[in-house]
Amino acid sequence: MTPLLSIRGLSVQIGRGTPVDGIDLDIAPGETLGIVGESGSGKSLSLRAILRLLPPQAKVTGTAIWNGVDLLTLPEPDMRRVRGGQIAMVFQEPMTALNPVLPIGLQITESLGVHLNLRGAAAKTRATELLDLVGIPDASRRLSNYPHEFSGGMRQRAMIAAALASGPKLLLADEPTTALDVTIQDQILKLLLRLKEELAMSVVIVTHDLGVVAGTCDRVAVLYAGKVMETGPVRTLFTRPSHAYTLGLLRSLPDAAHARQRLEGIAGSPPDPGALPPGCRFAPRCGFALDACRIGDRVLAPSAPDQLSACIRAETVMAA
């Protein structure tokens, strides 16, 4: 099956550092892909690099093939049609992602005008439907409200409505639940899954919350210091990780795959993107590391069916 979006060698360079360093990922139609990693692992950057949302200081290289064209070199006007129209994105903090001085309704309809040429009453009707769809009661009245008049969960719903307004084929969700209460998190995740079915989209969820991945994703990619450590179906990867880092992540959780909490259990801290260690970037913190781990480049290699790992000690890890 042809992937919906195919990313090859995606790198982001900022100053002397390379926080994203050659990432390869494929997203299949209808699939939900999770990207996990500690903060600073480059997961958010990668996501934003795809939609070219990074400031000019950030140099992005590689390819991201969408419908046969490379998003990273697409002319700006064409790129604008892709953004929102074909690939949408929701952000972590709805409070900052929604413009505080504009009414919610306007922030939904402006995208309708640009992509679907819907304006005036028609746009308003559609916006009401969208707010309905994301489960905001009394939608038509709420259009004129400002973000500060919404609760946290409602804001996130409103942002999702604004993002999905023009019927995209792919939704990039950047830590969509991190800023929310646990009870609300569930509602939002359920909403995303429902919308995914109803709108027949693919979804990429970036998160540091393994629980979110376990509950929603089909496939998962684990990022560390700007590189993909391991990818594979959620079930197999969580039960039999083939990378020492993944194993470390899972072990750091009291009840892996279920409890939602921050990844803090691995001793040491991620390397500075400006001063990366040679060899495997996880090696300095890794309990499995050998001398061989500290030299040479790592490539993803199959470690199990559908599962790729960059760990030369994959077999030992799987056995652990």
Binding site: I14, G15, G17, P19, G40, L45, Q57, A58
Partner: protein, 278 residues
């Protein structure tokens, strides 16, 4: 992620602006402290053999209508102007900061009174108020400091009050209260150090502003009194000669711009350092 980029940028910039600002100000400070070793001529002695000379090797900045060397006057003026920058702002900055931090924390009726005072003082044009006070006390720099101090502390107090209000609502202040610290300790050990950054930055801008105010008062005859050399007064002296002896006003003008640039670079640098520190 944007945080990462911002952090990188901060990491590069502060040394530049801070060092640049400090370098400029150090040069001015040298001129201010030992002008007699730097200036080639006396700043006040007339020389009727060289009136209104354009810049030459002997007089790099030219001479004025009394034959005084502009370079020497500009150098000597730096001590007066740095004095203005410091003395006109020192009291307002310190007093205003103290008052503002106390008011921001205490609130209540002292705060209400303060807000009334602010209302009154900011509705009278600053220059008008300063002129009236200077006229009451008599012209001259000393009285200008008093006049500016009487009015300007308000700005610092306002700034500080706002910052402290914001800081006081944060967790550590509450934690301090729970631990039974007195208000004075909370204000001065916890709130003030955290809230002082914008005040410091404004202080730097204010120094440049006061030099300008000094020159405005000089223009109206209320600032530094001749034959004292002060940049603003030097510019005002040169105003009648702008078409015939441009050097009289241009060089002191450049000095003011330099000093202003120095202060604002220093302010920018301090700001980013403090922001990084937080």
């Amino acid at each position: 992620m944007s945080a990462t980029i911002a952090a990188r940028r901060r990491f590069v910039l502060p040394p530049w602006s801070l060092l640049g600002g400090a370098a400029i100000l150090l040069v001015l400070l040298a001129c201010a402290v030992v002008p007699e070793y730097i200036a080639p001529y006396s700043p006040t002695n007339f020389d009727f053999r060289s009136l209104l000379q354009p810049p030459t090797l002997a007089h790099p900045f030219g001479t004025d209508n009394f034959g005084r060397d502009i370079l020497s006057r500009t150098i000597w003026a730096s001590s007066v102007d740095l004095q203005i920058a410091i003395f006109a702002t020192l009291f307002p900055a310190i007093f205003g900061t103290l008052v503002g931090s106390v008011l921001g924390y205490v609130g209540g009726w002292p705060d209400a009174i303060f807000r009334r005072i602010v209302d009154v003082l900011i509705t009278i044009p600053f220059l008008v108020l300063v002129i009236v006070i200077v006229a009451v006390l008599g012209p001259g720099l000393g009285n200008m400091y008093i006049a500016v101090s009487a009015v300007n502390w308000i700005i610092y107090a306002r700034l500080m009050r706002g910052e402290v209000l914001a800081q006081a609502s944060r967790d550590y202040a509450a934690a301090g209260r729970v631990m039974g610290y007195g208000p004075i300790r909370i204000i001065f050990r916890h709130l003030l150090p955290n809230a002082v950054a914008p005040v410091l930055v404004y202080w730097m801008t204010d120094m440049a502003l006061e030099i300008l105010l000094g020159s405005s008062l000089g223009y109206l005859g209320l600032g530094a009194q001749p034959p004292t050399a002060e940049w603003g007064v030097l510019i005002a002296d040169g105003k009648n000669f702008m078409t015939t002896a441009w050097w009289m006003s241009i060089f002191p003008g450049i000095a003011i711009v330099l000093a202003g640039t120095g202060f604002s670079l220093l302010g920018d640098g301090l700001a980013s350092m403090l922001r990084r520190g937080r």
